[in-house]
């Protein structure tokens, strides 16, 4: 992304970054105004929208919140408008605030939701629960991407790693009748794919994008093949694994709304929480993290201070495979037990999108994964209750958002400088 696209800096004394930031604020203001008009003023109906909140146990309705759909849309739209205008004011004074951005986005979303679900019932807690549910593999996948790409190896084989993990854990859990072995073998399967990626990319210097693509095809092929060859005809031995039971974290799971969502989950999800914090800490607060980032941005400089570039990359790619493989276990032992053909269904590519949308940063990737998971779930919830927007267009949203992000129209994403470039001493510069 190094060609003439970058506009030459400073017209009106603003840096390119600041002008881009200003442009995104303009877009935010425009979107808020648009949703206020579109959802809050134009619709003629006078229906109610009902939001249901579950405070304690699942499926027991504790609280309902019925609103006039039109005025709710108007209210949320205006809230978004005020927040984004406030954001502009703060920007003029040189203050960056993520909070106003978040409020504005939430306002736009709620405005849309109140319009789309007019006359309907929205199980709000369920909506969030489902969003987390769909985000888990995305978060694992994008963390795998962070690990590998921050150290300079492009990983588009996330899909393959997830699928390999799902397959291995499902089959092994079924053969051993034990979730423990299923859980243990999933990361190994993921890192086997990583091993191929690492050997071919780092040792042989083959294009990592092509390699990732081919590895995905390979995993699809092998799992599809074995699925039809063994898992279908001999289902009772090969594909009827047990599933993990959710564990309630004492006290925490009783927190209203968030408790049942966050703290009544399987061990995989708790490992994910730990992983998110651990990755963020390790990447920015430890020697390993500093070295990893150095190797990803400027391997020659890293080498010159004695860091073993390729060894570190190799190790990080393997760890990335462990993480994605564990995420794959979520599909089988984490949910239904049984493996089904191509069950990751492109989640690895949405994880890649989340990684890019989140600007290759751990928190950014997690945030993007949550947003994409939410969009996916919102789509299916709205699909069930029936809405004016075709569900296909909502399914497109994460992909379109990622394209907008990489084109730099709103904000700017930049990959680690040496991402995808093999390192050979004396050849790079």
């Amino acid at each position: 992304m190094s060609n003439s696209a970058e506009p030459t800096p400073t017209t009106q004394g603003l840096s390119a970054t600041d002008r881009r930031r200003r442009r995104s604020i303009y877009v935010m203001v425009a979107l808020s105004a648009l949703s206020t008009v579109l959802f809050g003023i134009l619709p003629g109906s006078n229906q109610k929208v009902t939001y249901g909140f579950v405070l304690d146990k699942e499926w027991v309705l504790i609280h309902q919140w019925a609103l006039n759909a039109k005025s709710a849309s108007l209210g949320f739209g205006l809230l978004a408008l005020i927040a984004s205008i406030l954001g502009y004011q703060l920007f003029q004074r040189g203050i960056k605030s993520r909070l106003v951005g978040a409020v504005a986005s939430a306002g736009i979303l709620m405005s849309f939701l109140s319009w789309a679900a007019a006359g309907k019932f929205i199980p709000f807690t369920g909506l969030l629960q489902g969003a987390l549910f769909l985000s888990v593999p995305l978060i694992f996948g994008s963390m795998s991407g962070v690990l590998s790409e921050r150290s300079g190896v492009v990983n588009i084989a996330i899909e393959g790693q997830l699928l390999a993990g799902a397959f291995a854990s499902g089959v092994v859990a079924s053969l051993t009748h034990s979730t423990f072995w299923g859980l243990l073998v999933a990361p190994i399967a993921g890192s086997l794919i990583s091993l191929l990626l690492a050997v071919f990319a780092i040792n042989f210097g083959i294009d990592q994008i092509i390699l990732g693509f081919v590895l995905n095809v390979l995993v699809y092929g092998i799992t599809d093949f074995l699925y039809k060859m063994l898992l279908i005809p001999y289902q009772s031995t090969w594909n009827s694994g047990p599933t993990l039971a959710p564990i309630k974290i004492p006290f925490l799971w009783k927190i209203p709304v968030v408790g049942p969502i966050l703290f009544d989950q399987t061990i995989i999800v708790y490992l994910m929480y730990i992983g998110i914090f651990a990755l963020n800490f390790a990447l920015f607060r430890t020697k390993w993290g500093l070295r990893t980032r150095a190797v990803g941005e400027h391997p020659t400089a890293a080498d010159s201070v004695g860091i073993k570039v390729n060894r570190l990359r190799f190790r990080n790619v393997l760890i990335a495979g462990l993480v994605a493989g564990l995420g794959g276990a979520y599909f089988t032992v984490g949910l239904g037990g049984a493996f089904s053909k191509e069950m990751t269904a492109g989640k690895g590519f949405i994880a890649l999108a989340a990684l890019i949308f989140g600007r290759w940063s751990p928190w950014g990737a997690v945030g993007a994964a949550l947003i994409f998971g939410f969009a996916d779930n919102l789509q299916s919830v709205l699909g069930i209750i029936g809405t004016p927007i075709p569900s296909e267009f909502m399914l497109m949203a994460p992909y379109v958002a990622t394209i907008i992000a990489v084109t730099g129209f709103i904000g700017r994403v930049r990959a680690p400088a040496a991402d995808g470039a093999p390192y050979k001493r004396g050849e790079n510069h």
Partner: protein, 390 residues
Amino acid sequence: MRKPQLSSLRALKLPVLAFLLAMFAGALLIAFSDAPSLKKIGHPWQFIKSASAAAGHAYFALFQGAIYDHTLATPHNPWLAFYPLSETLVAAAPLILAGLSVALAFRAGLFNIGAQGQFIFGSIAASYIGFHFHLPIGVHVILAVIAAIVAGAIWGGLVGLLKARTGAHEVIVTIMLNYVALYFLMWVLGTTTFLRPGRKDPIAPDVATSARMPHLAGDNFRVNFGIFIALAAAVFVWWLLSRSTWGFRFRAVGANTAAAKTAGISVPFVMTAAMVISGALAGLGGAVHVLGSDFSLSGGSAGNFGFDAVTVALLGRAQPMGTVIASILFGALRAGGSTMQANTTTPIDIVLVIQALVVLFIAAPSVVRFVFRLKNVKTGGELVAKGWNG
């Protein structure tokens, strides 16, 4: 005359060996997942006999389904035994076009994973013109093909334009656009225009007979004019790349963007133009598929053509001729795979494994070199890594 022949033979050595190796690995996979054989694993000799029989049967059925099946011949039409060969060419035609799309972009330094999306848009356009209008024979099919080319060119050109104007990496953009295209197809199939009368499932009406590609060998065989279109496109791409000024510019940008820029070549223009042509080829592939053999657009119409196209282009070393040969080979595997799945216990998905392994071995000649104890195998320089910032 002798020398160039020798060198082109040597260029074939690696792909052929890679293919053999992949077939062998596939056989091992079949052998070790054959449940009746696995039961005999305590008796090694019996296991080997039974497992190799399983693999042998599978590959024999694969061959039968791809080239020649004597059981299909009837007393008054022995030619029917070649029905599988016709099926191979039917599968190969769209694949050649999609493969050329990827190969052309490759030569201009762009990795077009988006052939799938461009293929989908081509199919949608061809199908729409094909079933919605009533036009004279000849005019109809030409219009449908042109529509598909334009649709594919727009969808591909968008990628080139974004890359040229903003630097957005084409791989990221095309992966995302493939999904957008897929969901667009799903949506389009649900609209009243595309819904087949009397049906509720997402399947478009059959294209009119006036919009179909003419059969080449009578109505018993599905092989159609599409294969000629594909071969003509291969000649065109060959001419474009190695005989035209544009092609020279494409290759210059592909080889070294900075040098090309210094030499006065407009890199943004080349990127956009290459992606427009690339998209047009994939869109044409969609047309050949829909108008030649599929006739009715459905959610799975585009199948895996766009993704197989990438493996085909890689196996063919991004050369037009190589892509054609690789496409026919993979077309044969696809056609044979269906027969194999029907007649034996081996599922068609083994084809995907073989495909992936071939490309992996091609990409890493060291593996092939090691297995066959070769000293010097000609390796292509097309697979040099560039990454997100390249």
